[in-house]
Symmetry: D3
Subunit: 131 residues, 6 copies
Amino acid sequence: MTSPGLIEYKDASPEVRAVYDDIMATRKTDWINNFWKALAHDPATLKRTWEDIKQIMAPGALDPLTKEMIYVAVSVSNQCGYCIASHTAAARKKGMTDAMFHELMAVVGMANETNRLAAGYQVEIDEQFRS
Amino acid sequence: MTSPGLIEYKDASPEVRAVYDDIMATRKTDWINNFWKALAHDPATLKRTWEDIKQIMAPGALDPLTKEMIYVAVSVSNQCGYCIASHTAAARKKGMTDAMFHELMAVVGMANETNRLAAGYQVEIDEQFRS
Amino acid sequence: MTSPGLIEYKDASPEVRAVYDDIMATRKTDWINNFWKALAHDPATLKRTWEDIKQIMAPGALDPLTKEMIYVAVSVSNQCGYCIASHTAAARKKGMTDAMFHELMAVVGMANETNRLAAGYQVEIDEQFRS
Amino acid sequence: MTSPGLIEYKDASPEVRAVYDDIMATRKTDWINNFWKALAHDPATLKRTWEDIKQIMAPGALDPLTKEMIYVAVSVSNQCGYCIASHTAAARKKGMTDAMFHELMAVVGMANETNRLAAGYQVEIDEQFRS
Amino acid sequence: MTSPGLIEYKDASPEVRAVYDDIMATRKTDWINNFWKALAHDPATLKRTWEDIKQIMAPGALDPLTKEMIYVAVSVSNQCGYCIASHTAAARKKGMTDAMFHELMAVVGMANETNRLAAGYQVEIDEQFRS
Amino acid sequence: MTSPGLIEYKDASPEVRAVYDDIMATRKTDWINNFWKALAHDPATLKRTWEDIKQIMAPGALDPLTKEMIYVAVSVSNQCGYCIASHTAAARKKGMTDAMFHELMAVVGMANETNRLAAGYQVEIDEQFRS
């Protein structure tokens, strides 16, 4: 199998379990999604990635729901099926309504369209945006 | 020149001027940025694109600043230089602080990283995200 | 300098000159654009790439202008500045009118938009498209 | 479920049905593909997207088959599975032969290759493409 | 069916069989993976693509395993599911250990992150990298 | 200005200087490239990104030059101009020869091509790559 498979909690090393425990405590859930169970094959990357996400997605100048929707926007632009499913679910859990999801998709679609119009028309950056 | 150049207000047809006028009135500015001046070579696309953006970026379930930051997130993921400059400026104008910009960038960077980890580890979508 | 620079005709090896000569003869021009002058640092890649392009872009079931516009469409989607400039110029030379360029851009923009709507809404492929 | 599911004709609001009816009439088919049934959760986006596509994909300076093949080219570059399946089917229906499909794929592949060679060799845009 | 299906060895033309034979001989395997069976619908592309890959992936200044890991890195960045599976398998066969795979993924993830930070912060290229 | 500009060593806070010092010590150089000077506006991201890169790019199962070439491969696929320039320079410094650079580019180009052929032909993953 080219995919490394998943490491379940019961089979995990103490190092990996510590990360799993922190994920569940931080997210107030009792399960671990597959992304982390796959990364667990590389405990250094598992720990670094989780700690980065925990720091970055914490409430700050932007609220957690806004951050999660930005995560969805990037995942959709990149056509990452797993990430779209997992972060859309996370955004729903954090309060994204149907109306918010629809507007998020509309903006993401529009931005992808005008990104190409700007490139194709070879538009120069306005002085006003430089100074 | 492979780029079609820019159409200034004084040289624009009445049809194009009407769009320019609506852009300036809607945005409460007295100038038009290059993106629209380039699209003006194709009045049908100019009008359609502007009306779409006007509809999509209007206040709704998401506020205009959140929408603008989502626009920046997509533009950064797509490496569109013009769009990054113009939409970052627009987000600033709508109230994005330095702290908000920094967190926006951190989320966009992180999402681009984990999008590839999920793909490279060939992670299957969890049942919990399907049902 | 991280860029390898350009190899001019007068400085080129006989192997490279043979490719340059074939490019100019095939395209009925008297100059070589920078892409080939950069690739000339690696004569094997220069020759292979030119021969592939010569084969692929020749008239066939699709005419050369259609092929060139498809090339522009891909380059715009990928945000490749050099490729957008060079292939838009090539398409112009092969007969792309302003009206054709405008429609090409409109389709490319739209496709980039709906590609993300399909991904974001996690749309399943219809049975009709499978059988 | 993170995917919003599909809205069938019989369950659709009059507003959504009007779009479905126009899609079927314009395309001379008696069914609606999943993309539209998913977008139907957001009638404003459904209507705007359909009207944009109807305008953009109509015969003009470019014929409908050429436009559809450009749509396929973008969808393939973006790795959008749904869009590749649906627009390849649409292009087939509009007359794309096997030979045309093969040449389309060859151009798309080649363009994606040289887009990266141009970027990696950091090729500067020729003066001839600027003026 | 929008996908053209697969051409098995027993159903292949002599021209296609010659390529299949060369693939199996070069790779020292007794089977052909689906990528080639799909391309076989277009013998010219099958032959050109195989000969290009054979030339490019041969031992040279870079060893075959390094080349295969670079192939994986690109495929992961592009979210190409088929290519991730096939080239990860190929890299494993050429000697990629678990530890090497983990580091490969970590670098690919990190590069995708900083590519966006550099774009989003609109960082200018240092003089030192230009001269 | 939409770009946040650069923070020079002499203007940096002690927290930022500590990162700059570690970058110069680790890389055995006496200057800081613009990427870090831009990130310095957000000391948390500066520190996290540097520490991640330092961990990831250290010698391990893969040697530093191989890692740097993988970084270049990703940056080229993503069309990130800054990253292509900076990581190509870094790879040169770590020993990448012209011949290695040429082969790296050839593999990156080829992978981008076949990634799209696999997608466009809608190739199913072989059982052999799954088990």
